[in-house]
């Protein structure tokens, strides 16, 4: 059927555009030589190089050749198509040519970054030749347009989730906010005063949570989890299960709440904002949505048993534990007290569960290591140190750090003030981390020793009453969701964006966005920025009322199909069905593809005994020609 199309009767005239990538490619590949080699291939009418094909002058080069009628097929040889395929498709579209009459050869990631010299040039020639061969067989395609639901599911009711939900609602998009606990506010509820404004985290949570509760456009489901997922951007179907918290969770989470109902609408310190009474019965429902925003947040690192004495000595606690203690401590004494004991000297240790180095630090039981910096702990630690010094002037503070990372606006000031208020700083190398031991003599329970690089490697030993560990962030365990939705996860176990600068809040799964600390450690400001950036992407995506999907989906050749149903059996996403049709007056069954669901995986193509099904833009014939070109090269 497609063989009669007008475009394929006009002889393909291929334009080939090879990018230097400012040396990234041309330092290793002789791009002029590649252009020369390719020029000899029949059907290639132009073969150009440019320092940056993706730049405006580069794109114009292609557009001029299209507009002048010189070419009707385009091959760009540059970086990975994931970076700039869309850039070039748009450029071609602006020149009034079908953007799918174009193929992309990756000669950077697959060539110049891994090969050098003549072999790199030879491989580039081969890759481009294969792309040219494929391009000659390309046919014009149109993107698949599907209606999009003006609705977003936000997973997680912490700061990121609340911020995103409110923003989306303000733009007229209905939101379902799904939170697994009975509370809103997430980990921010475990903070007290915030750097650098000294604003109360509880107040900020209350401000956002209350607005969300009062917003008729936001439907909040606490005690809820996502248990099922299907569909595609614009039309996801998400199964949400709500269940009453079990007695244990109730006891554990709802600290201090005597009656659910009386606490509704209140911010409970160090617990969260309580938006509604907990459900009393289990309920499952399906929500149709256009976009999903992940705001699943983080959890704090739990030190291993014995790590800096944690678990061995009751006087070793984490920073979140200490912050909660301080919030409740009365400031009417010259000494801080803890567990009824006077604290004369406290040691704070940075980078616990962050910046771990293979070979120096131990991996956890799952063989994981937190090699990243958790970004927020330095300022939080210094803030706590300052608070001790200001409220309890007789309590000494020793601070053990690797690098002080008070990078943010107003944060350096805390570092200065901590030094001025006589917090004593000791700097350690990771291989000489502080050692915490029980004090056998004297009246201090613990002693801490370290090789201090600030005093040029002097061995320092100090008696202390309390040790506070500045624990880092880890992504919340969401392996269930990750497996269900097949989400990309980085080696740091945080969700992995497509590209940190080009598409920073998008996952490779179209229509699933990222907000906040599920992506990387961030403070509240950065989290809110990220959430708003995700919201703006969702708003742009849903604003048109429809979404356009790539047309690389399976298509059935009805003349060849005999209705074996082999394709139906193997399709992993149920995109193919057998439909009754009349052929020559006879009622038969033939395969039919739902292009919105089809992911273009090609399993059906491999299975069909009659070659009656093919993926558009990636046909068997195109592959054959590519292989021929590679073999011939």
């Amino acid at each position: 059927m497609s063989s009669n199309k007008k475009e394929s009767t006009s002889e393909p005239r291929v334009g080939v555009y090879i990018c230097h990538c400012g040396g990234n490619i041309s330092d290793h590949v002789d791009v002029e030589q590649v252009a020369e080699n390719i020029r000899k291939i029949p059907g290639v009418v132009v073969s150009h190089t440019n320092t940056f094909m993706c730049s405006d002058p580069g794109q114009e080069l292609i557009q001029e050749d299209i507009k002048s009628g010189k070419i009707n097929r385009v091959v760009v040889a540059s970086c990975a198509p994931s970076l700039h395929e869309l850039t070039f498709r748009n450029a071609i579209k602006r020149a009034d040519m079908n953007p799918y009459l174009y193929d992309h050869a990756n000669i950077r990631e697959q060539d110049s970054w891994v090969h050098h010299g003549d072999p790199a040039t030879a491989k580039a020639t081969t890759l481009v030749a294969a792309a040219v061969a494929k391009t000659k067989r390309l046919e014009p395609l149109d993107p698949i347009r599907v209606d999009a639901r003006n609705h977003v599911i936000v997973i997680g009711g912490g700061m990121a989730g609340l911020r995103a939900a409110l923003d989306l609602s303000s733009r007229g998009i209905a939101v379902s906010l799904i939170e697994k606990s009975p509370f809103l506010g997430g980990q921010a509820a475990n903070l007290d005063k915030l750097v650098p404004t000294e604003a109360s985290a509880g107040d900020l949570i209350k401000q956002l949570a209350q607005a969300a509760v009062e917003d008729p456009n936001i439907q909040i489901s606490t005690c809820s989890q996502i248990v099922g997922f299907e569909g595609y951007v614009g039309n996801f179907k998400v199964t949400v299960q709500t269940h009453p918290p079990d007695a244990d969770t109730r006891r554990q989470i709802i600290r201090g709440i005597t009656s659910d109902k009386s606490q509704v609408g209140k911010m409970i310190p160090f617990v969260g904002y309580f938006p509604s009474a907990v459900p009393t019965s289990e309920q499952t429902r399906i929500i149709d949505t256009g976009v999903i925003v992940f705001a699943t947040g983080f959890k704090t690192y739990t030190p291993r048993q014995g790590e800096f004495g944690f678990g061995d000595f009751p006087e070793v606690i984490t920073l979140p534990m200490f912050i909660r203690h301080m919030a409740q401590a009365a400031a009417n004494d010259k000494h801080l007290s803890f567990n009824g004991k006077k604290i004369r000297r406290v040691a704070m240790i940075h980078c616990v569960g962050s910046r771990q180095i293979p070979g120096i630090h131990e991996a956890d039981e799952n063989d994981y290591m937190n090699e990243y910096c958790s970004r927020t702990c330095c300022s939080a630690t210094l803030r706590a140190a300052m608070e001790i010094r200001e409220n309890f002037p007789k309590t000494q503070v020793l601070d053990f750090y690797r690098d002080i990372r008070t990078y943010g606006r107003g944060q350096e000031d805390y570092y200065d003030r901590a030094s001025e208020s006589n917090v004593l700083f000791f700097r350690y190398e990771p291989e000489d981390s502080p050692l915490v031991e029980k004090n056998s003599s004297g009246d201090f329970p613990l002693k801490i020793s370290v090789k201090d690089t600030l005093t040029f490697g002097e061995e320092i030993e100090a008696d202390v009453d309390l040790i506070i560990l500045s624990v880092g962030m880890e992504p919340n365990p969401i392996t269930g969701l990750v497996d269900m939705m097949k989400l990309p996860v980085g080696s740091d176990r945080f969700l992995q964006e497509v590209h940190p600068k080009l598409r920073p809040v998008e996952l490779a799964n179209t229509g699933i966005l990222l907000a906040g600390t599920c992506q990387a450690p961030m403070d509240i400001s950065e989290t809110c920025n990220a959430a708003q950036a995700a919201a703006v992407k969702a708003s742009a995506l849903l604003g048109k009322g429809y979404v356009e999907l790539d047309p690389f989906v399976a298509g059935v050749d009805l003349a060849a199909c005999s209705g074996t149903g082999a394709c139906v059996d193997v399709c992993p996403v149920d995109a193919v069905k057998l439909k009754p049709v009349k052929i020559n007056g006879e009622e038969v069954e033939r395969a039919e593809v739902n292009p919105a669901i089809c992911t273009g995986c090609g399993v059906c193509v491999a299975e069909c005994p009659h070659n009656a099904i093919d993926v558009k833009g990636w046909t068997l014939k195109q592959y054959e020609d590519m292989v021929d070109a590679i073999v011939a090269a």
Partner: protein
């Protein structure tokens, strides 16, 4: 009468923050005007070599966003323009007076052929290349500038008339005058970026006036694909350096320069440059003198550890004195923390000052938005809505609101676009009601 134009949002600044804001608004079908003081959009980012932590070339990431903005049907770019005033007249409207500086080249006629540039007899230090080489008095700023339109530098023009004679489209106009025009919009976003900390007042560094003592931005140019030398050599005499050093916190965390804050990017760009240098000059020794390494972003700490593993030397110590040594070497004096605290003097072929960031623009006398004590634009809700300022419907994005790297800038640009679109949605609702 001045020309009057109407848009939904005025974005001030065409760097990565402004462009991302404009794109995020335009994709939601708002009409956006971007005004940019330079002759090209792209801001500081397009002038960089590669960017951390992915080591993508800066052009690979910036040029597509520049091109997307230039071609977006909802975005209009105004380059080589200064913002004269920005006032809110009512909740529905801000009015900006914008001065179009004379390019002395008609943008509608210029086809970017560079004939004028080749013909021009005047050589002028090229500020786009750290003044390491010369450009012509009439020129296109750089090869991937947008728009590709020449600009004539009247201060350095002898009015010889050569460019006008060779121009095939008769685009040169020596008589052009600055021209004001008015932009009316509902909202504005300030994305005015940064400049490097000036260090001419720093006697310990000899005011920066030491041969082969260069700024980090100048090193970006030496490393960039279209750099002044197309390789890294000493500016004083073309020697390929054997030893290169970085002075961290040069112009940050320094109260004597009135820059007490951390500039957030210098540790990472120094590490990045060190990595690129060790690729370009495998035999060179590269040393980074630092106080604290602040590699806090996603993947940054791992980047830092990789640099250490590559053999880049990290020395803890604040540089106390920078002086010229013999043979155009640069001498650094510091207290070596890991060496018993003795005062050490070391000489390097080439020394880079890792300069910090100061605001690129001040609202003083232009618009009524407040700045913080750090002189960057103040956020009214720094935690839950960092891009909201104290001027109604005027938002801030990127380094204009304090130092930040490209990743954080792009996120904040999205946030500013969200705030601006929310503001306009609310206006629409009020109107409908």
């Amino acid at each position: 009468m001045s020309r009057e134009l109407h848009f939904d949002t005025l974005v001030v600044g065409g760097g990565i923050a402004g462009l991302q804001t404009a794109l995020d608004l335009a994709d939601q079908n708002y009409q956006v005007a971007v005004i940019e003081k330079d002759a090209t959009i792209g801001g500081k980012m397009i002038r960089l070599s590669k960017v951390f932590p992915t080591l993508d070339c800066a052009s690979c990431i910036t040029t597509p966003k520049m091109a997307a903005s230039a071609h977006h049907e909802n975005i209009t770019l105004f380059t080589y323009c200064n913002l004269k005033s920005l006032d809110r007249d009512s909740p529905e409207s801000v009015t900006a007076t914008v001065t179009q500086k004379p390019r002395y080249v008609d943008p509608d006629k210029c086809i970017g052929c560079r004939q004028c540039e080749y013909g021009c007899p005047v050589y002028v230090p090229d500020e786009e290349q750290g003044n390491f080489n010369l450009r012509k008095a009439v020129h296109i700023p750089f090869s991937n500038a947008i728009p590709q339109i020449a600009v004539l530098d009247m201060e350095n023009c002898s009015l010889c008339g050569k460019c006008a004679r060779v121009c095939p489209t008769d685009a040169i106009d020596y008589f052009e005058q600055p021209e004001d025009f008015i932009i009316h919009a509902k909202t504005a976003v300030l994305a005015t970026g940064f400049e490097l900390t000036p260090i001419d007042q720093k006697p310990e560094y000899n005011g920066g006036k030491v041969q082969n003592l260069i700024t980090s931005m100048e090193m970006e140019r030496l490393l960039a694909p279209h750099g002044p030398y197309m390789r890294v050599i000493r500016p004083s005499d073309g020697k390929e350096p054997d030893s290169i050093a970085y002075v961290q916190c040069a112009g940050s965390r320094d109260k004597t320069l009135n820059v007490p804050y951390c500039s957030r990017v210098c540790c990472m760009y120094a590490i990045k440059q060190a990595m690129l240098l060790s690729g370009a000059l495998p035999l060179a020794d590269i040393t980074i003198y630092y106080m604290d390494i602040r590699a806090f972003g996603k993947g940054y700490e791992q980047f830092y550890q990789n640099a250490k593993a590559m053999g880049i030397e990290f020395v803890k110590g604040k540089i106390a004195k920078i002086e010229q040594a013999d043979n155009q070497y640069v001498s650094l004096r510091y207290e070596a923390q890991e060496d018993g605290g003795r005062v050490v003097e070391r000489e390097h072929d080439l020394v880079v000052l890792s300069l910090g960031m100061v605001p690129g623009w001040t609202p003083q006398g232009v618009c009524q938005v407040s700045c913080d004590t750090d002189r960057f634009i103040k956020s009214s809700m720094p935690q839950i809505a960092p891009t909201v300022t104290d001027m109604e419907g005027v938002f801030v994005a990127g380094v204009a609101a304090g130092p930040k790297d490209i990743v954080d800038t792009i996120a904040e640009a999205g946030a500013a676009a969200m705030e601006a679109s929310k503001y306009m949605t609310a206006l629409g609702k009020q109107k409908a009601a």
